[in-house]
């Protein structure tokens, strides 16, 4: 059985990555925070008696399932919203929208120009990642970002090893193509993949 300290250490190590991964998938920071919070609680509630070594896989599984639940709920909510909005007129809610509120303020500790270039590059990568089909993004995140092996990724995704490899390969190709389209060859991302 894992101790609270082990759980805490594990969550400290993964929480930021988990949040960003979820945010790329659901494209909503508030929803992403809720999902990560739910996942943490589920891990503690239902799998707290498991050894700490099992936490990475269990947590990823819970996170992916919670994301799926969110999408299901979102689908139903969208259906109702569409139905109800067809009866209503123009909404004035968007008047309050201020684009300045959505601008991220970066921590510029290095050279400003280098920071800017890096930040722009990361934003392009994030956008490319958001554009990926859900399964490809899931495979990429688990396999490369969470550094799980093919078998573990397949187990979490509920598919075969071969499918994981295919999803990963397609994801990397799609990301590389998208980044190249944005002129990001200078990033150090190899373009050898295009010459295969």
């Amino acid at each position: 059985m894992a101790t609270p300290k082990e759980l805490s250490d594990f969550l400290i190590a993964v929480e930021r990555r988990a949040f960003k991964q979820t945010a790329y998938a659901v494209r909503d920071d508030h929803a992403a925070l809720d999902i990560v919070q739910d996942s943490m609680m589920k891990l503690a509630e239902k799998y707290g008696d498991h050894p700490a070594a099992e936490f990475p896989m269990l947590f990823q599984r819970i996170l992916q399932n919670t994301m799926r639940d969110f999408w299901r709920r979102q689908k139903v909510r969208n259906l109702w919203t569409t139905l109800l909005s067809s009866f209503g007129g123009n909404d004035a809610d968007n008047d309050d929208y201020d684009p300045l509120e959505t601008i991220d303020v970066e921590d510029d500790s290095d050279e400003p120009s280098a920071q800017l270039a890096r930040s722009q590059t990361i934003k392009l990568i994030e956008r490319a990642l958001e554009k990926l089909p859900a399964r490809q993004r899931e495979a990429f995140v688990l396999r490369y970002w969470e550094e799980m092996d093919v078998a573990e990724t397949a187990k979490i995704m509920g598919c075969s090893d071969g499918s994981v490899k295919t999803h990963c390969s397609r994801a990397v190709h799609a990301l590389a193509a998208e980044l190249r389209k944005q002129g990001l060859d200078k990033l150090g991302l190899s373009n050898a993949i295009f010459n295969k």
Binding site: T3, P4, L7, K20, G188
Partner: protein, 154 residues
């Protein structure tokens, strides 16, 4: 900045000239992307970091409380561990498979209903057969609609 770009260009050319297997290239690209994403993940806003920290504390506290409760439970009664284990695991299974559990309950109710119907129906049938055979009147008399009126008038 210029020097860095030049170095990057050199790296690209070197890599392009080398014959590297597709998987290695994919891995390298993925590695570079993940490195950038990781740096981004470490620079969350203060509010987001606080939310995550609060969520973590909540989860850890929950586990700590649960373990304390289990320890207290164990010290009060050391007997009945097998039963508690069974109860915990069966309960956990049903909690995990809610739909299946609901289906199981419905199926059990349905089977019980059918079984009751079958058993009750057959015993009634046997009783009525025995009654008809043991009766002084022939069975046709009960099927005759005029028999009851005749019985009343006499």
């Amino acid at each position: 900045m210029y020097k860095k770009n030049m170095e990057n260009e050199k790296n690209i050319n070197l890599m392009d000239n080398q014959v590297i297997s597709g998987i290695e290239v994919e891995g390298q690209i993925a590695h570079n992307i993940v490195e950038l994403l990781n740096s981004r993940a470490q620079n969350l806003s203060e509010a987001q970091a606080q939310c995550l920290s609060a969520a973590r504390s909540q989860a850890v506290n929950h586990l700590a409380k649960r373990q304390l409760a289990l320890a207290a439970d164990g010290s009060i009664s050391r007997n009945g561990n097998a039963l508690r284990w069974f109860g915990h695991h069966v309960g956990h299974y049903f909690e995990q498979h809610r739909l299946m559990s609901a289906g199981l309950v419905v199926l059990t109710m349905l089977l019980t209903f059918v079984a009751v119907q079958q058993l009750g129906g057959s015993s009634n049938l046997e009783n009525s057969d025995a009654f008809l055979l043991a009766s002084d009147l022939p069975p046709e008399a009960y099927a005759d609609k005029g028999f009851d009126t005749w019985l009343d008038t006499n």
